[in-house]
Symmetry: C2
């Protein structure tokens, strides 16, 4: 690549999120950066897109630096579509999403706005990575992860990401880079949430619920993202958007439809 790579950055915590700002810092060292991010938090939006209402987008600048920034009214997937098809002059060399405030490991990938943005870019034929830190707090410490984020992104630009695949990178909460044990390629752990609904009554006497839950991992495999993260490794799970369970097609063909 003769000129500097064009890097599209987005996220689901919104354009003001510290995790996004840390990702901008790292990417400014690698290439030419354009940020197109939601104007408000979009966590747990899954792969929502805006088809029944309008989208707004404003050029803004929240931080110093060479990056261009756009704030959009839509979801993370909307931001990628708008960036690629309307705002950017050429196809980006890579799209990075995050750094999410909170885990997108295991089954959480299904609910993740961060990963839906990466998947959207992947579907558009752009190499894409979602980055998440296992720390929900707005004041989470992203500094120790910056060297690894740079290494992973440079590898992806140099080697290319396999076709029809995007990378789901989750990072443990550490105080310094020295606490990290390395980077592992993993599979998605077979874990799940046991939901609990906290039922309350509002001042008008009407019942309502808060969704809460407990994360359960019964998958003892040492090749999973959960295992790696528990051992202070950064996990990289290659994620695909062909959802076909090819291995059960033969079984389903034995069904009798009359």
């Amino acid at each position: 690549m003769s000129k500097r790579p064009l890097i599209l950055i987005t996220n689901d915590d919104g354009i003001t999120a510290p995790g996004l700002r840390s990702l901008i810092d790292v990417m400014n060292e690698i290439g030419e950066v354009v940020v197109v991010a939601p104007d408000s938090p979009q966590s747990a939006m899954g792969h929502a897109i805006t088809i029944n209402s309008t989208l707004h987008c404003s050029k803004i600048k929240l931080n110093k630096g060479p990056q261009k920034e756009f704030s959009c009214s839509g979801t993370p997937a909307d931001c990628v579509k708008l960036a690629v098809n309307e705002l950017l002059k050429r196809k980006p060399d890579i799209c990075v999403s995050g750094i999410n405030h909170g885990s997108n490991s295991s089954i959480n990938v299904i609910y993740s706005g961060t990963m839906s943005a990466a998947l959207e870019a992947g579907i558009e034929g752009i190499p894409a990575i979602g980055f998440s830190l296992l720390d929900y707090r707005w004041g989470a410490n992203f500094e120790p992860l910056k060297p690894a984020i740079k290494t992973i992104t440079e590898n992806a630009i140099k080697n290319g990401i396999p076709q029809n695949v995007v990378l789901n990178v989750n990072m443990p909460q550490v105080d310094s880079s020295e606490e990290l044990n390395g980077i592992k390629i993993c599979r998605q752990a077979k874990a799940y949430w046991i939901e609990k609904f906290d039922k309350r009554t509002n001042p008008m006497g009407k019942e309502y619920y808060w969704l809460t839950g407990e994360f359960i991992n019964k998958d003892k495999g040492e090749d999973t993202d959960e295992w790696a993260l528990n051992k202070n490794f950064i996990s990289i799970v290659p994620v695909q958007y062909d959802l076909t369970a090819h291995h059960v097609i033969q079984e389903l063909n034995t069904w009798d439809f009359g």
Copy 2:
């Protein structure tokens, strides 16, 4: 199964949608039906869940029949979580979602609220099927599809759906059952949307966008859902929520992270 199966019905077009009403008709013939559906349309919500605001749920009855009905403020995935963990007395024997007004074939499965509800049920360990009709209109004709929906659901109850898999059923638009050529087990076609943003200016002079697009299928395989639907077959794609691209793990393990 000695007693009648307990069937949970949900959708993403909202509790008043004709497609949902048709699904209730069919399921009332098969088992004991509980409907837990969004109180407003949730199309293209992907796998969104409500974690930052409250959920409301009301017992209502919109149509005659033996079914119980609940109208909820959340997304399709919220409805399933709330049904299974709070509203139902026992785990349902099957969850059916739809009938969606519009296609969820090929890459559309990624954006689908209908399928996210089915996936949510699958994750909760409940056999689940999403049904969609290739007709966006509110007045779509669901009648000719009812016998096939019944057959597919009865097969799923009798045979069980393979573990960690849910079924994505798409149905062509036909005037009568005789026009259908049968039911085919398929893979997800590798097709995509070319987005076009319709850029407009509002009365206050501010620019905004409508997302539009064209669906492109370059996948010539005769084992895809798109192929089957074009030939007036009903397509069934088994869908999995382990998104790991297991086949590229070896390649990624050659990357040099220093």
